[in-house]
Symmetry: C2
Subunit: 579 residues, 2 copies
């Protein structure tokens, strides 16, 4: 039987609860978003005792289903003030799934001190962790492996989470124990920090494994999915993601004129080639050592899009050089030195911040003149100020919107207080609709219409056309919520969009685990139910359609080189979820 653990940080007590029937079919984002709506007072302070920190593996996570190693965390976001789900690919997710833990709900706040959770087959235990205070995520992981052996999974926050900064993410260990896999967005690291929770260790020894209601259905689905993933050009072995990682997108987006550059002042970057996926693969190959250009974030992934970057002497520098991170801390800052970008990502990982929010924030700070565009060393120094929580670090650590306000900058690329990812919404207009209308704030993963608009996956649409983009965004947002709930990596969608049997297979694996009889037609319905629970929370927290808008400057400024402007009518934004 799956179970829920409720941790009360006020007295560090833990209660094990049966899963109420209303939550029985929920996992991952489906679980976290529902608990947020059912249990968190919408008006509460995100860093106060009435917010909750929630963690839940996907429905199939921990099973043999390929590329399903995702875990969701949730709570009221200190960055957006609304609902927040963020997920990561990590072995921790699979350990939780195998321990049959539906979810962990952390409540209240301790009088003082730092704490950790130890999770194993016997349950959940709270332990003092004052000795971990001030440590980096890497140091925290190291301490945990020394204490509990190197087979455990570790969840941690860095100094920024301890200091409750709104760009703090939650760090998960990767397959080899690195502190590199992030549920970064929305500041949930600050929520974890506000609970006095520095780390969570998961030991799966003796775990019973994921309960599968219908093994036959599950196995059939699993095979169909695997076949699709191994066939599609984007996801197959030796395919785009496997060869170049997500950073393959630097050149693609640059050529499309949709690579936001120097705080969204241009859609193309003259230094793009220096930080591209192709160059990245070359550098890793040349420098050798620990460097790997294909690497999986969690066991059982067939895509293996992760990588490990090496220093010039071949020693390991950082994992992962993702497109979003390289863009945010590279093109968006006008920085084209791959080593500087790698060092920034390493710092973000160690101090516990979301690389996207960090990059968007530094872009706004450069717009304000705090540093010059292109000055990678200055950017590194500013990230160190965030670590040290200097006054400047306190400004930057609270994100792009906050930094814009601090310096009176009107060009802040953010929606609902969350910085925009690596796709120019004036060019990739469907993604603009997603940025504007997602209950999560600006988020490319919330409804990745770039697939159709730029990559030609799931059809081929003109990115700069407005027509149909409201419907496209809605469909993709619902499908994404389905994927996020069941533990699959979003990248499975590339294959699922083009290969019908793959999508059927995904639904069958879910049916196998849950004992449901859903068809592909249920994907949208299930996804939309999740979105509705998120939107309901936001509405009660005070969000209106005025929050479902792109920033004003994008309607006033054309973006070179395509000279596109935001021309998506408000009516299209409002059509996504009805008004």
């Amino acid at each position: 039987m799956a179970k829920i653990f409720r941790v009360n940080m006020a007295d560090q007590s833990v209660a094990e609860e049966a899963v109420p029937s209303k939550w029985e079919l929920l996992g991952g984002r489906g679980f976290t978003s529902r608990v947020i709506m059912d249990e968190i007072t919408p008006g509460c302070h995100p860093l106060g005792p009435n917010n909750k920190f929630i963690m839940a593996p996907g429905i199939v996570t921990g099973s043999a289903a390929a590329t399903s190693g995702r875990v969701s965390i949730g709570g009221k976001s200190p960055l957006t003030g609304g609902t927040k789900e963020s997920n990561a690919g990590t072995p921790v997710s699979q350990m939780l799934g195998r321990l049959r833990i539906k979810g962990i709900i952390v409540e209240n706040q301790p009088e003082s001190g730092w704490w950790m959770l130890k999770i194993d087959k016997d349950g959940v235990e709270t332990l003092p962790a004052d000795d971990l205070q001030g440590r980096s995520t890497t140091e925290t992981n190291q301490a945990m492996f020394e204490r509990y052996g190197d087979q455990v999974g570790v969840v941690s926050i860095g100094t920024t989470g301890e200091n409750t900064m709104a760009m703090a993410g939650v760090c998960f260990s990767d397959a080899e124990g690195r502190a590199s896999r992030y549920a970064g967005r929305g500041g949930l690291g600050a929520v974890m920090g506000s609970k006095g929770l520095k780390a969570i260790v998961v030991d799966q020894t003796g775990a019973p494994g994921v309960e599968v209601k219908n093994r036959e259905v599950f196995r059939a689905g699993e095979r169909k999915m695997l076949s699709a993933l191994q066939t599609h050009d984007v996801t197959k072995p030796g395919g785009t993601l496997n060869t170049f990682g997500t950073n393959a997108l630097i050149n693609v987006m640059n050529e499309a004129g949709g690579l936001p550059t120097r705080n969204f002042r241009s859609g193309s970057f003259d230094g793009a080639d220096n930080i591209s996926g192709e160059t990245l693969a070359d550098i890793i190959r040349e420098r050798g050592g620990m460097g790997k250009s294909t690497h999986s974030c969690s066991p059982g992934c067939v895509i293996e899009c992760s990588n490990i970057y090496a220093k010039s002497d071949g020693s390991e520098h950082v994992s992962v050089m993702e497109y979003e991170s390289v863009w945010a801390l590279g093109a968006n800052l006008g920085v084209d030195d791959m080593d500087d970008v790698a060092e920034m990502i390493r710092i973000c990982n160690d101090i516990g911040v979301d690389t996207i929010e960090a990059g968007v924030t530094l872009g706004v700070a450069m717009e304000a003149g705090v540093a010059q565009f292109g000055d990678g060393k200055a950017a590194i120094s500013l990230l160190n100020e965030v670590d040290q929580a200097t006054p400047t670090g306190r400004i930057l650590g609270n994100g792009a919107t906050f930094t814009g306000k601090a310096y009176g900058v009107t060009r802040v690329p953010a929606v609902k207080g969350q910085g925009m990812p690596a796709y120019e919404p004036r060019v990739v207009k469907g993604l603009g609709v997603t940025y504007a209308t997602s209950p999560q704030g600006a988020d490319h993963t919330a409804g990745y219409t770039n697939a159709q608009e730029i990559l030609g996956v799931g059809g081929k649409l003109d990115p700069t056309a407005v027509e149909g983009k409201g419907d496209l965004s809605r469909t993709m947002q619902a499908a994404t919520a389905f994927i996020d709930a069941h533990g699959y990596c979003l990248f499975t969608a590339f294959a699922m969009l083009d290969i019908a049997s793959g999508m059927e297979g995904m639904v069958e694996t879910v049916n196998g685990v849950l004992g449901t009889n859903w068809t592909v037609d249920d994907v949208g319905r299930v996804g939309m139910e999740i979105l509705e629970s998120e939107r309901e929370f936001n509405a009660q927290a005070g969000f209106t359609k005025a929050d479902d808008r792109l920033p004003e400057f994008m309607s006033n400024e054309t973006l070179p080189p395509l000279n596109e402007i935001n021309n998506i009518p408000d009516t299209v934004m409002d059509s996504v979820f009805g008004s």
Copy 2:
């Protein structure tokens, strides 16, 4: 004929316009709030080209009507993100009224540089003002008097307005030319700064005077009002306000247990007597020199509640030691040294910040440990950082809510992003309803139920009782909007609430100027129309009833010594304006 001047800062051009009939009866807050609703895009960035900076004298302002020297400014607030009106008592208001200027609407932004407006009988002129950049309000006033003679009125911003900080107010010259009269709330100094506008000089030479449609009605009303003001214990010569100024409230509120102390941790302050109105009057009397404990902010005021504080050598230190300022920078910080408080007020005046927001912000910063409660010298030093726009100054300069977010403080006494004034809403519950529901954000002047709840003016109600407080707040908010629109000082309300003929007289002076036939029964209607225009703008800007709430911590923490908690039901908050 009254006229409107529209200033386009993009090319520094000025257009004179006739008053459209829809705005004919509007003045002061009635005018600014209506123009905000009619002309400003609710979603615009408060510091961007699409916001406007609006200024309008009250309807009777400049006439012989007593205590009517108020001018309103308006725009979208950088502090709240909603509609904003703030008003000040100053001779500038009367000069504008006598020049028959209905309103000035400043639009767009210059490419570069600093500018000023010169207003006289011939119209409005834009002039370069780069030489004024970086100057204090006092220095700016001095420069203007040297250039244009000491009979002009001056409007200016300090360095904080230049740096577009959200706690920047707009400074008006007093009757002797001091830079001391503030329309402080809501950050409109930053809006003025965002327009590149450093100063406005008004010369009333040759002004035709206020046009009075019906002199007989006006004179009759004027006499009734004057008689009421000269009779009522609060407003009469030698009465409370005239003897001790507004600071008489320190002891009153302290004894009532409603004087917010050390960031709203207590309702009484052990050092209250050291900063009380009685002590203030004693000090001013003893030190002599320029010090005056009764002084009028603008000619023709019969209350004369203003004061001029002296240093120990008798030389002038600062004007005005208002209750709100002394509370904010005194009791709220645990500071009981009158000279330290005076110095903080002087700095606020010179750098151009709202003393209330400054004090609430420093209280939050002390809560975060940035300085210790009670350390007046540290507080002075922090205000100097705001002037210098250091990183810490950038945090503090953006107000209490912003500072709370920077440091992860959950105890932030603010509504709609605006810091609370000097009345504990857990004790003075009607004022709590006003703080929560006013379209202006937390603001005591928006509906001063303290009159009935503590002072026993206009009836006597139990402050801690909840019943009837929704209705009380609504009535007071509407009456206040009426007063703010017509140019009267809010303090006239003390007499008007108790003396029926005084209220009649006020309406008659308005009828005299406008040619209307309103009765006392129209006061609520006219006031409510203004409030509705403000609420409509806020709704379109994204405000909901979730924004009409007191901060969460006030529902979790009882306030000593009365041990009161916020127990006003949401339904009462929602009843004020309907849902």
